[in-house]
């Protein structure tokens, strides 16, 4: 399984619906300080089921919803969709024979997050399971947040086990 597309609407500074294609090889993301590059990484972790606000540089989960600017009002919900290519048929049942799997997470302000997989309601656990079978996930060591690359080295031995467990 491969991740092929990320779509955001109302998530942090991405108020308008925005699509990032994830293609084979190397995709560079550039732009000035504060323009929203790291917000994209957080959107990916969020749709994968991240539940700790601190991991999203937020004090509470509602903080990921577009808070408004001097010229625009705040939004009432944040939504991120992640498309996976399952042409190799490795997804767990009931998605095994679907060539495209879309995971959507939506959070209304003041409400609770809801997940959908290919249009049908799902729990966070189902999303995490689906992504674990694809050898990825919100806490994957392969998603390195800004400033975190040195943290591996500074961590305690028991904290580093994660790398090994993922490799197993």
């Amino acid at each position: 399984m491969h991740l092929t597309r990320l779509r955001l609407a109302g998530f942090k500074s991405f108020v308008e619906s925005t699509e990032l294609r994830i293609e084979p090889g190397l995709t560079g993301i550039v732009g000035p300080n504060g323009c929203g590059k790291s917000n994209l990484v957080e959107a990916l972790r969020w749709v994968m089921g991240e539940s700790a606000a601190r991991q999203m540089r937020a004090s509470e989960l509602d903080d990921v919803i577009f808070a408004g600017t001097a010229a625009r009002p705040a939004r009432n919900y944040a939504e991120v969709a992640l498309a996976l290519d399952n042409q190799d048929g490795l997804a767990p049942p009931p998605y095994r024979d679907q060539s495209v799997i879309e995971v959507v997470r939506r959070l209304p302000r003041g409400g609770a997050s809801g997940y959908r997989i290919n249009g049908r309601g799902a729990r966070a656990r189902d999303v995490k399971q689906l992504l674990a079978d694809a050898a990825t996930g919100a806490r994957s060591t392969a998603i390195v947040a800004q400033g975190q690359i040195g943290a591996f080295v500074a961590a305690k031995p028991t904290e580093r086990r994660g790398v090994l467990e993922e490799a197993a």
Partner: protein, 167 residues
């Protein structure tokens, strides 16, 4: 489960040593399971010794050496069990140009060998030049992010926050 973990350890350790020597142009590095007889409970200790230096605690490594050591470990895990996606948010920030070049070459190889798709956020011109495609994030309207696809020449003009993208 224990055999699986031990097999994974051997593979990650093998790749880690190889990638470290390649990134540093010499030296050696290895992993050890410490603190517990049962591999399922043990922690992972990292030993890294840049070329020509005496073995020291990891904390004595420089900022750039730490980042490279961490990358070698990360990619060693990939070669053992490829992840579909890898996101690197400005990991090239502490590196000098020679190491940025080595890192990029390694990323290209991992993308070919393991099939992992990479998203690399960077301010480094050298890294931008090695990407297959570039997306720019702009905030022409203050506080509102927009994503556009750019080429290298445009990415250069990006460095001015308020500069509109030249078509």
């Amino acid at each position: 489960a224990r055999e699986k973990l031990l097999a994974a350890f051997d593979s990650v350790n093998h790749h880690f040593g190889r990638l470290f020597t390649r990134l540093f142009g010499g030296g050696e590095a290895q992993l050890r399971l410490v603190g517990h007889d049962d591999p399922l409970e043990a922690g992972l200790e990292v030993f890294a010794c840049p070329p020509g230096k005496k073995p020291q605690a990891l904390t004595a490594l420089s900022g750039g050496e730490r980042a490279l050591t961490a990358v070698a470990l990360l990619f060693a895990a990939f070669l053992t069990n490829p992840a579909p996606i890898c996101v690197l948010d400005e990991v090239d920030a502490p590196l000098d140009d020679a190491n940025v070049d080595r890192l990029c070459r390694l990323i290209e190889e991992i993308a070919d060998e393991a099939g992992t798709r990479f998203l690399c956020i960077t301010h480094h011109r050298l890294t931008m030049a090695r990407m297959d495609r570039l997306y720019g994030v702009t905030m022409e309207e203050r506080g509102v992010s927009r994503l556009v696809s750019v080429d290298l020449r445009q990415a250069d003009s990006f460095r001015e926050p308020s500069a509109p993208l030249r078509a």
